[in-house]
């Protein structure tokens, strides 16, 4: 794509009412930052979800099982044309109403007929799957795979079709279309599905606890997208895309055959239920009677005010304008600006998930998240209604064990992260009432003991998201 085209695209997005007035499930915030640079990425082969955020308000995940290989391949052949590459999605983003991505578990690749020798060349953690890695990931107790929903813990989970749509009507239309495909292939079973819905206010992305979301995202070198100020350098493509040089400067050998693995990405799916009632009770209990005090506790858990304003830059008082300003809301670091954690506690969510300049080899631990909220919002002031609501997201990376599993095992669930001794991520760690949160404060720190669980893992899986050519190969077309 020529530079002129990118400018037009960016302009179109900025002027689009959907993009300025709607919550973006796929998100496009970063697209406005686009500037073209020469890259070596095969944008016509990469599935769009790796790089492109689409202007969607709704979505649906369908989790599939292939009872017969030929039926699975027939299903894939039928849906393949709807899976847009980065290039196609960019060219058509203004007129498209919905976007489809397709990915497979290791069992799914086997069910489609990939031979044993090739299957053996995929990384061990992907072959084992998320269920087998549960203990190390901290998926124990209430988060244990035995309690997962939707058949996600089953070895019969073979594939996911990810749909993002501009609105509810488009989702319905695309869903019916998919059902038509499925009707032709009775050997393909829908294990479960999940509808994704944004909820008001629609002018920015946020989740059920009320935090502004999608503030921090690594950008892939050569993608044409630039990281926002303070987000760190662009990341070498190999950190996300197989067949590209990674941050070690090396080209890591690909799983076989190359036609299957090239331009593929691994994805960890996480469906996290959010316990909004428990979260609000906690804010009231520990933040005192004033809304300001409660907002401060919410900010200390996250490391940002719910407006998105980072505590490092706004330690005392919320600054919503700062939170909404992508030129400023990532422009901070920790080692010099907040070494003791007086602004952002060492154990706060964003300080764990991206320790910025306080972790070694940070560029080798970056992840791209794609996903959305599900379930209805819990109205402010309403008691917990027990309804399942939360975030269902895919974490994209080139190496599950080095990126996703490291984040789960160390950043999120290692009680001794930053030598904290007895803490886990206060929002997404495996909390069982025995861990603490230390909030550094002069003259003496505040320690909250016995943190409750604000989230519960309801399901997860490891997927491989092949390139477009690889999808054709899997469908038996090449």
């Amino acid at each position: 794509m020529k530079r002129r085209d990118f400018n037009r695209l960016a302009l179109g997005i900025c002027l689009s009412p959907i993009l300025t007035n709607a919550k973006l499930i796929g998100g496009t915030d970063a697209l406005a930052q686009e500037t073209r640079r020469d890259g070596m990425l095969e944008l016509d082969d990469l599935q769009h979800i790796v790089i492109t955020r689409v202007p969607a308000l709704t979505g649906r995940y369908e989790f599939l099982s292939f009872r017969q290989a030929d039926q699975g391949r027939a299903w894939l052949s039928g849906i393949l044309d709807q899976v847009a590459s980065v290039q196609r999605a960019r060219e058509s983003i203004e007129r498209e109403q919905s976007w489809v991505s397709v990915a497979f578990t290791w069992q799914g690749l086997r069910a489609l007929g990939v031979d044993q020798q090739a299957l053996g060349t995929f990384p061990e953690e992907f072959r084992q799957g998320m269920v087998a890695r549960a203990e190390m990931l901290g998926d124990t107790g209430r988060n244990h795979p035995d309690r997962w929903v939707g058949g996600l813990a089953s070895p019969n989970l073979h594939a996911v079709a990810i749909l993002f749509a501009r609105n509810g009507a488009e989702r319905e239309r695309a869903t019916r279309k998919h059902q038509t495909f499925l009707a032709r292939t009775p050997g393909v079973e829908v294990l479960s599905s999940l509808d994704l819905d944004g909820f008001p206010p629609f002018d920015y992305a946020h989740e059920h606890f009320g935090y502004r979301d999608r503030l921090s995202e690594p950008q892939i070198e050569g993608s044409g997208l630039e990281p926002t100020p303070g987000s760190g350098a662009s990341v070498k493509a190999g950190e996300f895309i197989l067949g590209q040089v990674d941050e070690s400067g090396e080209l890591v050998p690909l799983p076989k055959p190359e036609v299957l693995s090239r331009n593929g990405t691994f994805m960890a799916y996480r469906r996290l239920q959010e316990h909004v009632g428990a979260f609000r009770d906690f804010l009231r209990q520990h933040g005192g009677p004033t809304p300001e005090g409660q907002e401060l506790i919410a900010a200390k858990l996250m490391g940002r005010w719910r407006s998105g304003a980072p505590l490092v830059l706004a330690p005392e008082k919320d600054d919503p304008a700062l939170g909404a300003d992508y030129q400023r809301n990532n422009n901070f670091s920790y080692s010099k600006m907040d070494p003791q954690g007086y602004a952002v506690p060492l154990g706060a969510h964003i300080r764990r998930m991206n320790p910025r300049d306080t972790a070694a080899s940070i560029q080798r631990r970056r992840m791209i998240r794609r996903g959305a909220t599900y379930g209805p919002p819990l109205p402010e002031g309403a008691p917990e209604d027990g309804v399942d609501r939360g975030i269902a997201a895919f974490v994209l990376c080139g190496s599950l064990v080095r990126q996703f599993e490291f984040a789960q095992n160390v950043w999120i669930n290692d009680p001794n992260f930053h030598e904290l001794g007895n803490e886990r991520d206060p929002l997404i760690g495996n909390q069982d009432g025995t861990f603490d949160l230390t909030i550094p404060k002069r003259p003496i720190r505040k320690k909250i003991t016995g943190l409750p669980a604000f989230t519960t893992l309801k399901g997860g899986a490891y997927f491989f998201l092949p390139g477009i050519n690889a999808l054709r190969y899997l469908a038996g077309q090449s």
Partner: protein, 243 residues
């Protein structure tokens, strides 16, 4: 919530790293105040030398740095199998984490390894923080031949679980050239530049777990030592200023 509910506490529990979880009703901070970590460590033998007791079957209620502590470790190197990302996790002991990697030196490579000691000395002199990501207390590099050929031993005591930060360590070995020592060892993977898994396997295969570890000031991290000495220095300065 009662900690009695945790029936299968691992040795890590008393280190404040409970992995066993029980169902907890949402919405209430019932765990508040439940600070004492679960203690159920039949598999642990901890000798509290300060109390004069011989090996006993209960763990200390807290990681008390004032009580010199010894810990006998089973042959496998761990008390209870707990999977890390790359294999079983080795426990934190009174002497913290660490490893002892022993491998045979390739013929004729002794001087190459020995000379590399000087290179590391210079590298640390030039940048005292160059090894900081390894979170080390001490390193000991030894070469010995007790009749079965020359061997190299890399013994490190550090504050993080090696499994957790192994890729960072390998990246550091590569960037500082420490890897140039390993290439002189038998069994080192030829494709180490692109095959991190093979490098990790080398370290795990050549790791020799301790069967006894002892800490005169147990479980204290290097960071805590540094902080304590800083406080002492600051106090001395303050007292000087009061004169």
């Amino acid at each position: 919530m009662s900690h009695d509910q945790i029936g299968t506490a691992t040795r890590r529990d008393f280190l404040g790293t409970a992995t066993a979880a029980t169902a907890l009703t949402l919405g209430a901070s019932q765990g508040a105040g439940a600070q004492t970590a679960s203690i159920n460590s039949q598999e642990v033998q901890v000798a509290q030398l300060a109390t004069g007791q011989s090996a006993q079957l209960t763990a200390p209620a807290s990681l008390d740095w004032t009580k010199p502590t010894a810990m006998a470790i089973p042959k496998e190197g761990y008390f209870k199998l707990e999977q890390g990302r790359y294999g079983p996790i080795f426990p934190r002991t009174p002497a913290n984490y660490g490893f002892t990697v022993i491998a045979k030196v390739k013929p004729g490579r002794e001087s190459a390894i020995r000379e590399y000691g000087k290179t590391i000395e210079e590298a640390v002199k030039a940048n005292p923080n160059v090894l900081a990501p390894l979170r080390l207390h001490y390193l000991r590099w030894v070469m010995f031949d007790v009749g079965s050929g020359l061997h190299f031993m890399y013994q490190g005591i550090f504050d993080t679980d090696f499994d957790k930060y192994v890729e960072d360590a390998i990246a550091l070995f590569n960037s500082t050239g420490i890897t140039t020592v390993f290439v002189n060892l038998e069994g080192w993977p030829e494709d180490w530049r692109t095959n991190t898994l093979a490098v990790i396997k080398f370290f795990r295969d050549h790791q020799r777990p301790s069967f006894l570890e002892y800490g005169e000031y147990p479980y204290v991290t290097a960071d805590e030592v540094r902080k304590s000495l800083s406080v002492k220095t600051a106090l001395s300065t303050m007292l000087d200023q009061m004169q």
